[in-house]
C-alpha cells in the first residue's frame, strides 16, 4: 500500500501508474462493494444508545431455502410492541432464574461473516477499467450480461439487486445464530414459544442495531411440532401465522398447568390450600383461561365473532360465539378492505345442501346467517384470500384483484352490543406475497416501526422505505407483488394526530422528490443545462452528507431551501431518470448536439456516474431527512444553523477554487485527450466514500491543494472539460482521494 502511495506521489510514468492503480482499484472495488453503507445504516447513524425494549433493532432474517414465510411473519410479530413485550415477560421470572438480577442471556453464537468472494476472478491479464467502464460493467451485470472473460454472473453479484443486497447483509453481519438447543428454556420444555422468545431476546440483547439473525433452532422446533411444514417446499405465511399463535397459546397454557401442578406438589397442607385459593382468585380471566398471566395472546390477537342465524321458517334467531385470531376475507376486484370486511358480514343463505338444523322447528330449515364482530382484538389481522381453488378444484390460483387498504381503519360490522365499535386501528405491517401462483413465491414484510417509519424486511435485507411504498401492493402493478396479510393495531385519535404531525415533514420531502423525479430539464441548451444541474446535485449531496442535521432548518419551507443555498438551484432540478434498479440508464435529453466521439464518451461516462450517484444520494437524502426529523431538538437546530453557515461558506469558497482549478485542468485535459483510461476507482464509489466519511470536506480540500501543488497532470483526465465544475472536480478528488484518501484517512482517524 505504501508503495502504491509512493507511486502516486512520485507521479511516475503513465502506464506504470495505470496498472498499479488498476489493481488497487479492483481491490478497492471489492472492499468498497463490501463496505458500502446501506440506506438502513445511514438512517441509523446517529441513533444514540441502544434501547432496552428492542424496538430499535433492525435485523434481517436468514432464509434457509423458502423459509421466507417464517421470516416475514416473525418480523411482523416482533414489531408489535404488545406482543413482543408480552413474550419477553412470560413466564415471569422467579428469583432463582435471575441470580445476578438480570435475565439469563440467550445462547446466541455469532457466526463469522462470510469471506467475500471477489466478483471478478483474479486475472492478471485483466485490463484496468476506467470508472465509466466499471459503471457500464455494473449495468451490464445488472442486465444479465457478464463482463468479458467471465462465466455467467451470479444474481448476488449484480449490484442493486435484492440478491446483492442480501449478500451484503450477510457479509457485514453480525450474524446471530440461534442454532443450539435451549435445554433450560425459561423453565419450559423447548417449544415454539421458547424458540420465538429466544429470537426476540437475541434481538433485544444484541449489541448492534443491524445485522442478520438465523432462526435455525426456531424452525427446527416448529417443524418438529408441525408435520406439514417439515419439507422445504414453499409454505403459506398465513397458515404459519395461525400455527405459531396457536402453538404459543398451547405452550403457554401447558406451562401454566405444569407450574400449577408443581406448586401443588411442592406445597402441602395449609400452605397449599392457601396457594390454591389465592391462585384461583387470581386466575379469573374473562377469556376462560384459568391460569394467571397466560391470557395475553388471546388478549392481543383474539376477537370474538357472533354468528347470528335466523331460521326462515320459525323466525327464531340463535347466536353462537366463536373466537378468531385473524379474519380471512374474500376479495373482489377493485374493492377496499373496508368493503371486503362488510361482505364478510353479509348474510349468507343456508339452503339446499347447507340447511340449518333449527331446534325450534326441528329438522333442516332454510336460514339466514351472518357473522358479526362481537369483540374487537387489539391487533386485528386480516388475511386476504388471494389463493382460491379453480372451479374444478384442481389447483390453487392466485387472484390479482386490486384491493386497497387505508392506513387507518374502523370496523363497520360490529354487533350492536359490541364494546367500543368505533375503535380506531392503524396499519402497522403488511406481508406481501410475490409470485404468479400459490406454489412458488416469495414473502416480504413492510413494517411501521415505532419511530423509524416504514421498513422493508426482505429476508436478510432490511431497507427503510417511505410511507407510500405500502400502496404499491394493492395488486394491479406489474411485478406480481400483492399484499397478503394486513396487521392493524389499535390506536387512538390523539396518537394518530401526533404521528401525522411528525410524518408531515417527511411527506413534504417525498413530494418534492416525486416532483423532481418527473422534472424535465429547463429550456437552456441541453448540454449546458445537464452539466449545470449535475453540478448542482453533486454539491447538494455534499450538503446532505455533511450536514444532515443542519438541513432541518431548510426543510420547513421549500423556498427557504432555495434561499439558503445560492449555488444550488431548487431541489426539483434533478434530472433523475425514472428507471428502476435493473435497467440501463439513459439521459433525459432527447436532443443532442453532435459532438466528437471523445466528447460524447466523456459525457456519457460522467452522466452515468452522475446518475448512479444520484440514485444513491437520493436514498441517502431521503434517509438523512428521516433521521433528521426524528432527532430535531432546539439546541441542535441552533448548532446546525451555525454549521450551515460555516459549511456554506466553505463550500462556496471551495466551488470558487474548483472553478479556477478546473479552468486550468481544461487546458491540460485537452492534451490528455488520447488517454481514455481513468485513474483510480470509479467515482460513484468515491462519492459514497465521501458520504461515509461524513464531514471531511476540509480533508478533501487539502487534497485539492495537494493536487495543484504537485501539478500532476495525469489525474486531470476525462471529465473536467465541458464546464463541469465541481462535479468533475469532485469526482477527480474522489478518484484521487479514494486511492489515496482512504489510506490517508485511516491514518488520520486511526
Amino acid at each position: 500500500m505504501a508503495a502504491f502511495f509512493n507511486k502516486i506521489k512520485g507521479g511516475s510514468t503513465a502506464s506504470g501508474n495505470q496498472t498499479a492503480k488498476d489493481n488497487a482499484a479492483a481491490k478497492k472495488r471489492d472492499e468498497q462493494i463490501i463496505l458500502e453503507m446501506t440506506p438502513l445504516e445511514k438512517m441509523l447513524r446517529n441513533a444514540g444508545p441502544l434501547r432496552e425494549d428492542g424496538s430499535d433493532r433492525f435485523y434481517g432474517f436468514e432464509n434457509f431455502g423458502n423459509t421466507c414465510y417464517c421470516n416475514s411473519i416473525v418480523q411482523a410479530l416482533f414489531y408489535s410492541d404488545l406482543f413482543r413485550n408480552s413474550v419477553i415477560n412470560y413466564p415471569s421470572l422467579s428469583p432463582s432464574d435471575t441470580p445476578d438480577g438480570t435475565r439469563p442471556r440467550v445462547n446466541v453464537s455469532i457466526r463469522p461473516p462470510m469471506q467475500p468472494t471477489p466478483p471478478n476472478p483474479p486475472n492478471g491479464k485483466q485490463k484496468g477499467l476506467s470508472s465509466s467502464q466499471v459503471i457500464k460493467q455494473r449495468q451490464a451485470i445488472n442486465a444479465g450480461m457478464p463482463p468479458p472473460g467471465q462465466g455467467p454472473v451470479r444474481p448476488e453479484d449484480k449490484p442493486d439487486t435484492p440478491e446483492y443486497k442480501k449478500k451484503q447483509a450477510m457479509l457485514k453481519g453480525p450474524i446471530l445464530e440461534l442454532a443450539q438447543e435451549n435445554t433450560n428454556a425459561y423453565g419450559m420444555d423447548e417449544c415454539t414459544f421458547t424458540g420465538l422468545k429466544d429470537i426476540f431476546l437475541a434481538l433485544i440483547e444484541s449489541q448492534t442495531r443491524t445485522g442478520v439473525l438465523s432462526p435455525q433452532r426456531f424452525l427446527e422446533i416448529f417443524k418438529r411440532d408441525n408435520e406439514m411444514f417439515r419439507n422445504s417446499m414453499h409454505q403459506d405465511a398465513h397458515e404459519f401465522y395461525g400455527l405459531v399463535l396457536n402453538d404459543v397459546i398451547a405452550n403457554v397454557e401447558a406451562n401454566a398447568h405444569k407450574f400449577k401442578a408443581q406448586l401443588e406438589n411442592q406445597q402441602n397442607g395449609l400452605a397449599q390450600s392457601v396457594e390454591n385459593a389465592l391462585g384461583s382468585a387470581m386466575a379469573k380471566h374473562t377469556n376462560g383461561v384459568t391460569t394467571p398471566g397466560t391470557g395475553w395472546v388471546h388478549d392481543i390477537f383474539e376477537g370474538v365473532l357472533t354468528s347470528e342465524t335466523k331460521c326462515l321458517t320459525c323466525e327464531t334467531g340463535s347466536q353462537r360465539d366463536e373466537t378468531f385470531l385473524d379474519l380471512s376475507i374474500d376479495l373482489e376486484e377493485h374493492s377496499s378492505v373496508t368493503s371486503c370486511l362488510r361482505k364478510f358480514s353479509d348474510e349468507e343463505m343456508l339452503c339446499e345442501r347447507n340447511k340449518f338444523h333449527c331446534d325450534h322447528c326441528g329438522g333442516l330449515q332454510e336460514a339466514e346467517k351472518r357473522m358479526k364482530v362481537k369483540r374487537l382484538p387489539k391487533v386485528l389481522t386480516l388475511h386476504l384470500k388471494r389463493f382460491k381453488y379453480t372451479e374444478d378444484y384442481s389447483r390453487l390460483q392466485k387472484l390479482f384483484h386490486r384491493v386497497v387498504y387505508p392506513y387507518h381503519l374502523r370496523m363497520f360490522n360490529t354487533t350492536d352490543e359490541a364494546e367500543d365499535p368505533d375503535r380506531l386501528y392503524e396499519l402497522y405491517a403488511v406481508v406481501v406475497h410475490i409470485g404468479g401462483n400459490a406454489y412458488h413465491g416469495h414473502y416480504v414484510s413492510i413494517i411501521k416501526t415505532q419511530d423509524r417509519g416504514w421498513v422493508l424486511f426482505d429476508d436478510e435485507m432490511v431497507e427503510p422505505v417511505d410511507k407510500h411504498f405500502v400502496r404499491n401492493f394493492f395488486g394491479e402493478k406489474p411485478g406480481m407483488a400483492t399484499a397478503y396479510v394486513l396487521f392493524y393495531q389499535e390506536t387512538t385519535f390523539e396518537k394518530v394526530r401526533e404521528e401525522q404531525e411528525r410524518e408531515g415533514m417527511e411527506d413534504i420531502k417525498l413530494a418534492s422528490q416525486a416532483a423532481s423525479s418527473a422534472q424535465e430539464d429547463d429550456d437552456k441548451s441541453p448540454k449546458a443545462s445537464t452539466q449545470l444541474k449535475r453540478q448542482a446535485t453533486f454539491s447538494q449531496r455534499a450538503t446532505v452528507d455533511h450536514e444532515e442535521l443542519g438541513k432541518l432548518a431548510r426543510t420547513n419551507t421549500s423556498p427557504e431551501q432555495a434561499l439558503s443555498s445560492p449555488p444550488i438551484p431548487a431541489l426539483a432540478n434533478h434530472p433523475i431518470p425514472e428507471v428502476p434498479v435493473t435497467t440501463t440508464n439513459s439521459t433525459s435529453e432527447p436532443v443532442e448536439v453532435v459532438k466528437s466521439k471523445e466528447d460524447k464518451k466523456r459525457e456519457k461516462k460522467e452522466r452515468e456516474a452522475a446518475e448512479k450517484a444520484e440514485k444513491q444520494a437520493e436514498r441517502a437524502e431521503k434517509l438523512a431527512e428521516k433521521e433528521r426529523e426524528k432527532q430535531a431538538k432546539i439546541e441542535e437546530k441552533k448548532r446546525q444553523e451555525e454549521r450551515i453557515k460555516n459549511l456554506q461558506q466553505a463550500r462556496k469558497s471551495e466551488s470558487d477554487e474548483l472553478q479556477k482549478a478546473l479552468e486550468e485542468s481544461k487546458k491540460l485535459a485537452k492534451e490528455e485527450n488520447a488517454k481514455k483510461r481513468e485513474s483510480g476507482s470509479s467515482s460513484p464509489f468515491g462519492l459514497l466514500d465521501r458520504s461515509k466519511r461524513g464531514s471531511k470536506s476540509m480533508a478533501k480540500r487539502s487534497f485539492s491543494f495537494f493536487h495543484r501543488e504537485k501539478g500532476d497532470n495525469s489525474h486531470f483526465t476525462n471529465g473536467e472539460t465541458n464546464g463541469e465544475h465541481s462535479e468533475g472536480k469532485d469526482s477527480l478528488k474522489d478518484r484521487l482521494s479514494s486511492s489515496l484518501g482512504r489510506k490517508k484517512s485511516t491514518n488520520i482517524l486511526a
Binding site: 382460491k388 426482505d458 411485478g479 401525522q500 424535465e520 437520493e618
Partner: protein, 621 residues
C-alpha cells in the same frame, strides 16, 4: 372471476420481476377511439327514468417518451421515488353560459351569512333564464367581470378576493376588448418540458363551424393533455394534443370569466409542481412556478378563483395553498408571516401551538401583502399533509379543503381564516364539493363513505354508504336540486357510479334512518376524539370527553369524529358499475352525466328523455 396476472416471463436474473411489461401503457402511439356500446349493462334506471350511454370516448394513453428506458422486469420492491400521477379528469367548457347552472343558484337563493334576501322564492328555472340572458349578453364582451368589486354582483355579493389591496388591481387593458395572451408559442417552443404539440389541421374551421352551445372537454391522461370538442361527430379527433416529456398533468381548470369564442384560459397543474397557463386558440402558454421555484411539490388541485380573471389557487402536496397570478412572473419566494410581514415572524409560541393543532392556517403570505410584484399573490400553509382536493363555495366566500390526514377545513379565504376543522371517519379525504346553495359540503374518502357536512350547523349530518372502494369524485346535480331536495353523484375506485338523494327534512329527524339506538353505549360517546380504548379487558369505561380543553380555540373550530351510531346512514338510489377500471371523475351537464376512468374512458350517459344522436342504435325501454 379471476384476474390473471400479466403473462409471466420467467426472468433470467433475480427471483422477482416475472411481470413483463405494464399492460396499461402501450408501446406505440395510438389514437383516441369512439364507440357506442349498447345493451343493458350500458344503461341504468333511477327514479326519474333511464340513463343510457351515449358514447364512450377512449383517450389514447401515450407511450413512454423515447428517452425513457424501457422497463422490462420491474423490481416490485423498488424503492425509487415515483412521480405523481392522476387519473383522467375532464374540465368541461361551454362558451354559452346557459349550460352552467351553478351560476343559477348564486343569484337568487339566500346565501349562508349573506344578507341578500332578494327573490328567495324564485323558481330555479326562472332564475336560470334571467342569468342566462345576463350571460349571453355579456358573453361576447371580454371585459365583463374583473377583480373590481362592483361587477361581482352576478356571482353573488361576495367581495372580490384581495379587494382593498391597491397593489393587486390589475393593470387595465389598453384595448378593452383584447385579452392578454400567454407569453410563449406552444407549437414553436423548444422547451424540453413539452415534447410535442399536435394541432388539428382544420382547427379554425372546426371552431367556427361548431354549435355555439357545444361542450369542449379538456382532459389529462398520463403525460398527455387533450382538447376535445364533445359536440363534434368526430370527437375522437382531438383539436389539440400536448405531450409532455415526463411530467403528468394532474389537474386543470377553465376560466369561466374570460372565456369567449376567441379566448380560453386554461390552467394545468403538474406532477413536477409546475403550472402552465394555456390559451388553446392562439396556442400560447406560460410556464409558472418553473422548476418549482415557489413550491417544489406536485400540484394536486388547481382552480381559478371565482370572479377573477387572473388569479387562481393551486394546492400543493406539501399542504400549501398558493394563489398565483397568471400574468406575474416567478420569483424566489420569501415567506411572510402574517403578523409582521417580515420573514420569521415574531408571533412565536401561541401561533405555533395552534398551528400544530391545526386550528389556524398559517398565512405564509397574505393577499393583502404589499409585495405583489411577483408570484405568489398569497400562500397559506394548512398543515404538512398532502392536500387532495378543494372547492370554492358557490357564494364565493368559502373554501373547503380535504387532506390526506382526513381533515376537512372550511376556510374563509377572503379573510384568510380557518372556520371549521372536521375529521373523516378514518382514512384520507379524496374529494370535496359544495351544494349549489352553499349550505352543504360533501367529502369522499378512503372510508368508502361520502360525508355530508352542514356549514351552518358546523356538523356532520349524514354518512353515505354505497361504494365498495375509495371515493374518487363527488358532484351535485344542480338540475335535480331544489331548496329541499338534493341530488348528487359520486364515482369511486370500484368503478361504480352512485347517485344519491337527500332531503333536508329527513336529516333533521332526531334519530334518522337506520341508526340503531343503543342508549347505554351511544350516550357515553360525546366525542370519539377523546375516547381511549381500554387496554385491559376489565375496564369498559370510556373517558367521557372532557370538553374543557386546554386550548379554547379548538372548541369552536375543531370538531371531533362522530361515532357511527349517532349519524344517519344514507343509501344510494343508484349503485351501478360503469367501468372495469377505477373511475376518477364525474360531472353533470344539462343533457348527461359524464364520467371518466383511470384508463381514459370518458363516458357520456344521456339523461332520461334525451334523444340519442341520429345514426346510433335506438334502445327500447
Amino acid at each position: 372471476m379471476f384476474v390473471l396476472p400479466p403473462p409471466p416471463r420467467y426472468p433470467l436474473n433475480g427471483q422477482y420481476g416475472a411481470g413483463g411489461i405494464n399492460p396499461l401503457v402501450p408501446a406505440i402511439e395510438t389514437n383516441n377511439s369512439l364507440s357506442n356500446p349498447t345493451g343493458p349493462e350500458w344503461q341504468f334506471l333511477v327514479g326519474e327514468g333511464t340513463y343510457v350511454l351515449k358514447e364512450d370516448l377512449h383517450l389514447a394513453t401515450p407511450p413512454p417518451h423515447p428517452s425513457e428506458a424501457p422497463i422490462i422486469n420491474p423490481n416490485p420492491l423498488s424503492t425509487a421515488p415515483q412521480p405523481a400521477s392522476a387519473g383522467t379528469k375532464v374540465s368541461l367548457l361551454s362558451l354559452d353560459g346557459r349550460s352552467n347552472p351553478s351560476m343559477v343558484f348564486k343569484n337568487p337563493l339566500a346565501f349562508v351569512g349573506n344578507g341578500n334576501s332578494s327573490s328567495i322564492q324564485e323558481h330555479p328555472s326562472e332564475s336560470r333564464l334571467s342569468a342566462e340572458s345576463k350571460f349571453s349578453s355579456e358573453d361576447k364582451l371580454s371585459t365583463s367581470i374583473s377583480d373590481a368589486p362592483a361587477t361581482s354582483v352576478t356571482l353573488g355579493s361576495a367581495p372580490a378576493f384581495g379587494e382593498g389591496n391597491a397593489f393587486l388591481v390589475p393593470v387595465p387593458l389598453k384595448d378593452g376588448n383584447k385579452r392578454r395572451k400567454p407569453k410563449n408559442n406552444m407549437t414553436k417552443s423548444n422547451s424540453s418540458f413539452i415534447s410535442r404539440v399536435i394541432v388539428d389541421e382544420s382547427l379554425n374551421r372546426k371552431l367556427t363551424d361548431r354549435p355555439a352551445d357545444g361542450l369542449f372537454a379538456f382532459a389529462n391522461i398520463n403525460r398527455a393533455f387533450q382538447w376535445i370538442d364533445l359536440s363534434s361527430a368526430t370527437k375522437q379527433d382531438y383539436l389539440t394534443k400536448i405531450l409532455f416529456t415526463k411530467a403528468h398533468c394532474l389537474c386543470h381548470d377553465v376560466n369561466l370569466i374570460t372565456r369567449s369564442s376567441s379566448h380560453i384560459d386554461i390552467i394545468m397543474g403538474f406532477s413536477t409542481g409546475e403550472i402552465i397557463w394555456w390559451e388553446p386558440i392562439s396556442q400560447r402558454y406560460t410556464r409558472l412556478n418553473k422548476n418549482g421555484i415557489i413550491n417544489s411539490t406536485p400540484v394536486s388541485e388547481i382552480t381559478w378563483i371565482p370572479g377573477s380573471e387572473n388569479l387562481f389557487l393551486a394546492a400543493h402536496m406539501d399542504g400549501s395553498l398558493v394563489v398565483y397570478d397568471k400574468e406575474k412572473d416567478d420569483a424566489q419566494f420569501n415567506p411572510e408571516d402574517e403578523a409582521s410581514g417580515v420573514p420569521n415572524g415574531t408571533d412565536g409560541e401561541n401561533d405555533t401551538a395552534s398551528k400544530t393543532k391545526g386550528t389556524k392556517i398559517q398565512v405564509v403570505k397574505s393577499v393583502h401583502s404589499k409585495n405583489q410584484k411577483t408570484n405568489p399573490v398569497a400562500a397559506w400553509k394548512l398543515s404538512n399533509q398532502r392536500i387532495n382536493a378543494f372547492a370554492f363555495s358557490p357564494d364565493n366566500r368559502h373554501l373547503a379543503v380535504g387532506s390526506e390526514d382526513g381533515t376537512l377545513r372550511i376556510i374563509d379565504y377572503l379573510k384568510e381564516e380557518l372556520l371549521d376543522l372536521f375529521y373523516s371517519y378514518y382514512g384520507s379525504l379524496t374529494c370535496v364539493c359544495w351544494s349549489p346553495d352553499a349550505k352543504y359540503v360533501l367529502t369522499g374518502g378512503q372510508d368508502d363513505l361520502i360525508s355530508i357536512w352542514s356549514v351552518a350547523d358546523s356538523a356532520l349530518v349524514a354518512r353515505c354508504q354505497g361504494h365498495q372502494s375509495w371515493v374518487s369524485s363527488v358532484a351535485f346535480d344542480p338540475w335535480r336540486c331544489d331548496d329541499r331536495n338534493y341530488r348528487f353523484g359520486s364515482v369511486g375506485e370500484d368503478g361504480r357510479l352512485c347517485l344519491w338523494d337527500f332531503n333536508v327534512g329527513m336529516l333533521h329527524r332526531p334519530r334518522a334512518l337506520s341508526v340503531r339506538h343503543r342508549g347505554s353505549i351511544s350516550s357515553r360517546y360525546t366525542a370519539l376524539q377523546r375516547a381511549e380504548t381500554s387496554t385491559t379487558a376489565a375496564s369498559h369505561l370510556r373517558s367521557n370527553s372532557n370538553l374543557e380543553t386546554e386550548d379554547d380555540e379548538e372548541d369552536t373550530v375543531s370538531h371531533p369524529v362522530e361515532p357511527r351510531a349517532r349519524i344517519p346512514i344514507l343509501p344510494p338510489v343508484l349503485n351501478k358499475n360503469i367501468d372495469t377500471h377505477p373511475a376518477c371523475w364525474l360531472d353533470f351537464t344539462e343533457d348527461a352525466i359524464i364520467t371518466s376512468c383511470k384508463s381514459g374512458h370518458i363516458r357520456t350517459w344521456n339523461r332520461p328523455g334525451i334523444e340519442p344522436i341520429p345514426g346510433s342504435a335506438q334502445k327500447s325501454g
